[in-house]
């Protein structure tokens, strides 16, 4: 994807922090994250529940206001943009959520749901609008009879297609997909993933941030991957490299925990002890050290690791790049 002279990133997050103050403490959901997404790229953002990946997705479009840091979309800074200034941004970037049942208004027909963004962002009305809506439904593989149906009449996969059609209605350059296939059965998930891949083949400028906990899905769809742990990115790089030569012990553990068909099971699983610590009370030094099988006392529990570049990827671990 990258050329020698990189173009303007479609999305750029710089030292992004999102903190939620509570009565007793501050939850550091996102803590100093920097990311660049270039036109045409699909970046997979993975992590376990509570790692802050969804907060990153929402903050990138200012659905949640960041505590600190910068957000640029296609070069323009939207960190402090007002509601009015954000309106054109919404035509460039759209969000798709995990549960299509709760992201579609149950009292609106499919036709109205897909038309709503166009009523806000375009001048299309009447028969032109109706025609565009049918075309969008056709594009996501739904027949036009669905125009007059309600969300409860559709299956999960069909509802997710409606959510995608609604997102595509304003012709965005960027999609933020938050676990779009997690609620679906595998045979339906495969169809949605195939569709997203086709969409990217068709539109070379289309850029996606794909938030997921499913590593196999990320491997299939994404060009690059960023692994989050407790509000921070711990490793980032091209999918081929991160999957074949993970640097961070957390990435290694995550990859080894993916259940595989039995024939291939023997490749030693790395056991992580315990659960994710609370984001209110982050461990000192490297936040992963209490669960890390490689942690060195006196180093990992004291010093916060800096980025170490290994080939085309980089990891935030004191031991990244060391030959084992």
């Amino acid at each position: 994807m990258l050329e020698s002279n990189p173009p303007t990133p479609m999305l750029e997050l710089e030292n992004l922090r999102v903190h939620f103050p509570t009565k007793s403490a501050v939850v550091r959901a996102v803590d100093d994250i920097s990311l660049k997404l270039y036109p045409g790229e699909i970046l997979g953002l993975v992590g376990e529940s509570g790692s802050g990946k969804s907060t990153v997705g929402k903050a990138a479009l200012r659905l949640i206001d960041p505590t600190d840091g910068k957000i640029r979309i296609n070069g323009s800074d939207i960190t402090d943009a007002s509601g009015k200034d954000l309106k054109p941004v919404r035509t460039k970037a759209q969000l798709i959520f995990q549960d299509p049942h709760s992201s579609l208004n149950p009292r609106m027909t499919i036709g109205k749901i897909v038309a709503e963004p166009l009523l806000i962002h375009s001048q299309l009305r009447g028969s032109e609008l109706a025609e565009t809506v049918s075309k969008l439904l056709g594009r996501v593989g739904l027949p036009s009879q669905f125009l007059h149906r309600y969300p409860h009449e559709l299956s999960g996969g069909q509802k997710q297609r409606v959510a995608i059609a609604r997102a595509l209605s304003v012709d965005p350059d960027m999609l933020i997909l938050d676990e779009p296939t997690s609620a679906l059965d595998v045979s339906v998930q495969a169809q949605i993933l195939e569709f997203l891949k086709e969409l990217h083949d068709e539109r070379p400028r289309m850029t996606s941030l794909f938030i997921s906990h499913n590593l196999a899905v990320v491997r299939f769809l994404c060009h690059r991957i960023a692994v989050m742990y407790l509000g921070r990115i711990v490793e980032e790089g091209p999918v081929e490299q991160v999957f074949s030569h993970p640097q961070h012990p957390y990435t290694k553990a995550l990859l080894s925990a993916v259940p595989l068909p039995q024939a291939e099971r023997n490749a030693g699983r790395i056991h992580l002890q315990g659960d994710l610590p609370s984001p209110v009370d982050l461990p000192s030094g490297c936040a992963f050290h209490p669960r890390c099988p490689q942690a060195a006392a006196g180093k990992c529990d004291k010093e916060s690791p800096i980025w170490v570049t290994v080939g085309a990827s980089r990891a935030r671990c004191h031991f990244a790049g060391d030959v084992e």
Partner: protein, 329 residues
């Protein structure tokens, strides 16, 4: 060897306002003592209803068992009185579910609930003090960190993985003959899922418990089970040793399911979804319910019940296209 559980020709329907929904269609399934069986299928295929119906956990009405028998340890258990069924559940058969929070009472301490469960299982023959010792011993076995402290905790103070450990402890204290685990790791993160799967595998082996693991994830099942039965729309379409299912799936639905799952280390160029959707089960034909979505379907598929064929040792397939075929293992 006498099978521990033998389900024969079980059919079950639900009476609803829209008509009779035929959820389970003449399912036969056997489980030998000490065996770990995976029951796999997508949403709505009947995998949970099948196991619950066998042990009297589906309310009748609205459900009605229209045919079949269920032998547990050689004894017919369909038609037992509710009291007899309850005595069997908990002691001979234990269940754990996807979302532990739904099955633990949020207003009682973890320890209190464990003690109550143990005393109920032992029909009140143990004192609270003895039950407490049994519980703490079991919490230790499921590797719950700090068992004495967690004994006094409320469920909301535990993480998802810890709650699932408590539920497993509760299920296994009576040393049941059979554990039914219904999507036990679906709500958990992958690293926690790996911990819980290892725990279940180790405990059932050490204690000599038979296992039925219900899951939509073929990968999860392959971690723990030696045999897999694949369900589609209330029918079992394939039943085989786990390696056979992955290396030489025979039923078109199993093949479709496997082709739809992306592999983390061998990326595919494209994934094949299975076109179409589940058939209407209000008035199904008597043949193979996958026929409408099957690339190999012929007229005969929908005309009559499709019998199971043995295509390799212990590898049963209900598909006309596989009749007379043999697969080299």
């Amino acid at each position: 060897m006498q099978p521990l559980l033998s389900i024969r020709d079980l059919s079950l329907e639900f009476n609803t306002f829209d008509g009779t929904y035929q959820a389970i269609d003449r399912v036969s399934l056997e489980l030998n003592p000490g065996e770990a069986l995976g029951l796999v299928g997508e949403t709505g295929c009947g995998k949970s209803v099948l196991t619950r119906a066998a042990f009297g956990l589906v309310p009748t009405p609205p459900a009605r068992i229209t045919s079949g028998s269920v032998l547990f340890n050689g004894r017919e258990i369909l038609g037992l009185s509710p009291r007899e069924q309850r005595a069997m559940r908990g002691r001979d058969v234990a269940l754990i579910f996807q979302d532990p929070m739904t099955f633990i009472n949020p207003v009682f301490k973890v320890g209190t609930q464990l003690v109550d469960a143990i005393r109920a299982q032992q029909l009140g023959k143990v004192t609270r003090k003895e039950a407490r010792d049994i519980a703490l011993n079991m919490l230790d076995k499921v590797q719950l960190p700090n068992p004495v402290r967690q004994f006094e905790s409320y469920p909301h103070q535990l993480s998802g993985g810890m709650r699932q450990r408590v539920l497993i402890a509760m299920a296994l204290t009576a040393e049941p003959k059979l554990l039914i685990a219904d999507e036990p790791t679906t709500a958990l993160d992958v690293t926690i899922q790996a911990q819980i799967l290892d725990l279940i595998e180790r405990l059932v082996q050490d204690m000599g418990i038979s296992l039925i693991m219900i899951s939509h994830d073929l990968g999860v099942v392959s971690q723990v089970c030696s045999r897999v039965a694949v369900m589609y729309a209330g029918q079992i379409v394939e039943d085989a040793p786990v390696a056979q299912i992955f290396d030489s799936p025979a039923h078109p639905y199993t093949k479709g399911l496997l082709a739809a799952v992306p592999h983390p280390f061998r990326p595919e160029d494209r994934l094949e979804g299975i076109p179409g959707s589940l058939p209407n089960l209000y008035n199904p034909h008597s043949g193979c319910r996958f026929a409408e979505r099957c690339p190999l379907a012929i007229n005969r598929c929908v005309e009559a019940r499709v019998a199971q064929t043995e295509v390799a040792p212990q590898h049963m397939v209900a598909c006309i296209a596989c009749e007379g075929a043999q697969i080299d293992a």
